[in-house]
Symmetry: C3
Subunit: 342 residues, 3 copies
C-alpha cells in the first residue's frame, strides 16, 4: 500500500466536499520574531505589545499575513499538490486576530468545479477557513487553482462557478473586538499620515527594496509548513526554485510600511494575482494605490482599500501593458482592505 501522499486530482473533488486539512499548528513568540526577521515588518501594532494595548487589543497579534500563511500552508497537500496554477483569491476576511499560543487548523469546502476544454485539467474553487483551538474561525477566503486530472478520460463534473464578490464591502469586514484608534500615537507608529490624508486614486512608491535569497524564502515557507516541492527541490525544478507567492505578499506588505505605516491591520482580501514567478536574486520593490476609503463603526478606525503591487524592477505605477497583460516586472497585484486611524 502506498504510504506517501500523491495529492488530489481534479476528478477527486466534489461540490460540497469538506476537507479537514492536517497538522494543526500552535503559533507563538518564535513565529512572531521570525516574521520580523524574514520581512522588514515595522507596523507598530504587531511590533509592540504596548502599542497594541493602547489600541484596545490584549497584546500584539501574530501578523495577519502570518496567520494567512499558516492557514494556507495546511491546504497545500490537499489542494495544490497537483496544481498547475494558483489562479486567484476572493472574499478573504480576517475574523479575529491570532495571538501567541493559538493553535490553528484549516478546513476547506469545494464550492466550484469547471473542467477545462482541453480535458486534461480543471479549475477547483475552495473556501478555506482557519479555525483556532476553541473552534472559532480566524480567517476565511476563497482560492481557485487549476488542477491536473489523474485520468483524462474521467467524466467532467457539472460545471459550478461560484458567485464571488469582486470586492468586499466595508460591511463585510470584521473589526477586531475592542479595536480603538482614538488615542493612536502617530509618532510611535512612524508616520503622521492618517486615513483622512489619503485620497482615492493616490499612488505611493514605497522606495525600499529587498534582494531575495534562497535560504530566506525556504525558511519562511517551511515555517508555514507549506511543503510544495517547487519551493525547495532544485532537482525537481532545475530552472530555479519558485518562490512561494505568499513570500512576495509579505515582503511587499512590509515594504509598504514606508508610506503606509498606519495601515495597521489587514482585514479583507478582495483579490490577488501572482502576475509573474519570483526567483532568488531578484530585488522586490512595491507600490500601492488607494482604491477606496470607507468609515467604520469602530472608534477612530477607518477602512482603506489598497492595491499592493510588488515588482522586480521597472517603473512604479506601470501595472499592465497596452495589451492589458501584466508587465513582465510585476510579481504581485493584491487588492486588500486595511484599518487605519481616521
Amino acid at each position: 500500500m502506498q504510504k506517501t501522499n500523491s495529492g488530489h486530482f481534479f476528478e477527486d473533488y466534489k461540490i460540497g466536499q469538506v476537507i479537514a486539512h492536517a497538522v494543526p499548528r500552535t503559533v507563538g513568540e518564535g513565529e512572531r520574531a521570525l516574521y520580523h526577521a524574514l520581512y522588514p515588518a515595522r507596523h507598530a501594532l504587531y511590533s509592540s505589545d504596548e502599542f497594541a494595548r493602547d489600541c484596545g487589543l490584549p497584546e500584539s497579534p501574530i501578523d495577519d499575513l502570518a496567520a494567512f500563511h499558516v492557514v494556507f500552508g495546511k491546504t497545500v497537500p490537499d489542494v495544490s499538490l497537483n496544481a498547475v496554477a494558483n489562479l486567484g483569491y476572493a472574499e478573504g476576511r480576517w475574523l479575529q486576530p491570532v495571538f501567541a499560543g493559538d493553535t490553528l487548523r484549516s478546513v476547506s469546502e469545494v464550492i466550484g468545479l469547471k473542467q477545462n476544454s482541453n480535458g486534461k485539467t480543471g479549475v477547483v474553487w475552495v473556501r478555506t477557513r482557519g479555525i483556532n483551538q476553541v473552534g472559532k474561525a480566524v480567517l476565511d477566503y476563497v482560492r481557485w487553482v487549476m488542477v491536473r486530472k489523474r485520468d483524462v478520460d474521467a467524466p467532467a463534473p457539472e460545471t459550478v462557478v461560484p458567485d464571488l464578490k469582486q470586492v468586499l464591502s466595508v460591511d463585510d469586514l470584521v473589526i477586531p473586538e475592542g479595536l480603538d484608534f482614538s488615542d493612536y500615537d502617530f509618532n510611535l507608529a512612524g508616520e503622521p499620515h492618517r486615513w483622512g490624508d489619503y485620497e482615492i486614486g493616490e499612488t505611493i512608491d514605497h522606495v525600499d527594496g529587498v534582494t531575495i535569497e534562497e535560504a530566506e524564502h525556504m525558511i519562511a515557507t517551511r515555517l508555514w509548513q507549506n511543503t510544495a516541492k517547487v519551493h525547495f527541490d532544485l532537482t525537481f525544478r532545475p530552472e530555479g526554485r519558485l518562490i512561494y507567492g505568499g513570500h512576495v505578499i509579505s515582503m511587499a506588505r512590509a515594504l509598504s510600511f514606508n508610506g503606509l505605516a498606519n495601515a495597521q491591520m489587514i482585514v479583507g482580501l478582495n483579490g490577488g494575482a501572482h502576475a509573474n514567478p519570483c526567483f532568488s536574486g531578484l530585488t522586490i520593490k512595491a507600490w500601492s494605490e488607494v482604491l477606496d476609503k470607507q468609515p467604520t463603526s469602530a472608534p477612530g478606525v477607518g477602512a482603506i482599500r489598497l492595491r499592493l503591487v510588488a515588482t522586480k524592477g521597472g517603473d512604479p505605477f506601470e501595472l499592465r501593458g497596452e495589451d492589458g497583460k501584466y508587465n513582465k516586472d510585476v510579481l504581485l497585484d493584491l487588492d486588500y482592505w486595511a484599518l487605519m486611524p481616521v
Copy 2:
C-alpha cells in the same frame, strides 16, 4: 597562559572520566519555531499543543532531535574538537520529553578507549546524558569518535571496548509519561497509516527533497551551539563547509513525514552512520525501511524500528554496493525506534 580551548587529545581521556560539558541552554518557543523554519517538520505532536494534549502530554515538546542536537552540541568542545571522524552512535534513549522552558546540560563518561595501530589516533567511546534543570536525564546515548593524539609518543592506554547493544529492545525504550494514542486523530495527523499498517521489510520513498543552503545549516548548527570550525569557516575548509551530520538527520526525519506522519516520537537510536559528507547545494531526499515492530504497554502505542536513509541522489532503497560499502549518494543511515498509534 593560553585562554582558548584547544580541545582534548586522545591521551587526555581516561576510562571512567566524567566530563561536565559547559554552557547550559534554556530552550523555548523560539527554538521550536526555528526548528519548523529550518526543517519541513510536520509531525502533529510537535506542531500543535492541542494535539499533544490529546495524546496525554502537557503540551508539544521540543522536537526530539532538537533536544538531541542541544545535548550533542555541548559535547563538541570536549569530545570532537580534535576528532578525525564521528564513527557511530548506539544505545540512544530519549528518557522524557523536553518542554519549552527546560534548561539542558550535558555530562559524558568515557567508557571506551582503543589506540589505533598507526599510533597517531585512537577511538574514544563516551556515554552522554542530557540533564534538565531538576537534574533528571532527558536523553542518554553512546557515541564514538576517532581523536588525534597530541603526542604520538604518549603510551597507549589499555584497550577497553564497551559492550554495546546492536539494537535496543522494546523494553529498553522509555515511553513518555501519560502518552496515550487511544484517541489519536489520524485526520489531523495527516495520514491514515497506523502501526498495524506497516510491515517489517516494507520500504517507503519519501519523495520530497530539499536543496541545502549554507545559511540554513549554519543557522541550525549555531542554534545547537555546536561550534565545530568545519561547519562555519570556509578559510579552514576551502573545499567547502562540511554540514553538521545532525542537520542531515533532522532534514531526513522531517522529509519522512510523507509516508510516516504517524511515527510521532523518537525514543531510541540504535545506530547511525554519516556515510558521506554533505555540502551546500546538494538536494537531500530520504527513504525508510521498517526493521521491526513491537507492542508497548502504553495505551494505543506501538513501537516501530526504522532505518532512515538520506541521499543526495541516486535511486532510493540502494544502500550499499556489491563491495558492501555505502553508495556514494548515501549521506546517512540511521536506525531508530519511534512510537506510533497502533
Copy 3:
C-alpha cells in the same frame, strides 16, 4: 503630499532637539533564540535561565548587543538614512538588562553639530536612550554620523562639539541589580579563567571564524528593524550589500567566547570604529586585548575593559599600519567594558 520618509538632512538638526523614534518593539523568546541561531553565542548567562538565576538575575536577559541593535535600529530612519558615514560611538552604558516581554523604544537628543568645510555635509552627534515599557532607560549611548545637506546653501549652524569621555570610568558603569558572581560556576560557563587571570596588555586570538552569508546578515538586520537600504537592496548597491556594522560586532563578540567565556555582561561601550566595510563571503575572525581591569562593588564581580577587533583575514594583533591607519583586513575596533567573576 509625499508619504514616504526621506529622512533628515544636516540642516534639519538643531542642538537640543529631541527625536522620539518610531516603532516600539517587544522582544521575547523568539529574539533570544534567533540571536543564538545567527551568532555563535555561548555566554552562559544569556544561554541558561538557571545560570542567570545563580548569578542573581531573575532569568537570562536578551543579549546586551541585541538590546543595543533594537535601540539602534529605531534611530536609523531619523538619524542615518542620509548618512554618509557612521563615525563613532562613545559613552555607551547598559543601564539594566532587557528581559523577554520588555518593550523598547528609542529617544535621541541632538548634542553636537559641525558643518564640514566642503559645505555639503556635516557631523551630527546624538545621545540615544533605549527606554522600556515602564519608562526606565535600559541603554544610553552617543553616536555621531556624517549627514548630507539637502540644500548646500543652507547656513551652517553654530559649531557645537560635545565633550565626550574617551573612556568610561568604572564608576560610570551600572552593575545590574542583584548581580552576584560569588558562586559562579566556571565549569558550566566553559572556561576557568577568572578576572584575576587576565593581565592588562594581554592579547587573545579567538581562533574561530565564520564565513558570512547574505541571508544571515539580512535576517539579523531586519530582526532589529534596521531598514537601511544599503543592507538589503542589491540594485541600490550593485557592488554588494553592505553588512550592518552591528552584525560584525555581534559576530566578533560571540567568537570571543573562546578565550573570554567569562566576560559575561557588556556594560560599557567606550568607542568603536567600523574600520572597513564587510560583505558577504568574507570570513570574520576576532582577537581581543585587555585594556584595563577594575574592581566593582558587586559581590564577586570585576570589570574588564577590552578591545575587540574583528578581521577578515591577516594576522591577529595587527591593528594599524605604520601610517596609523587601520589595516585593510580590520573590520571593527571596539572598546568596551564587561563584567567577569573575580
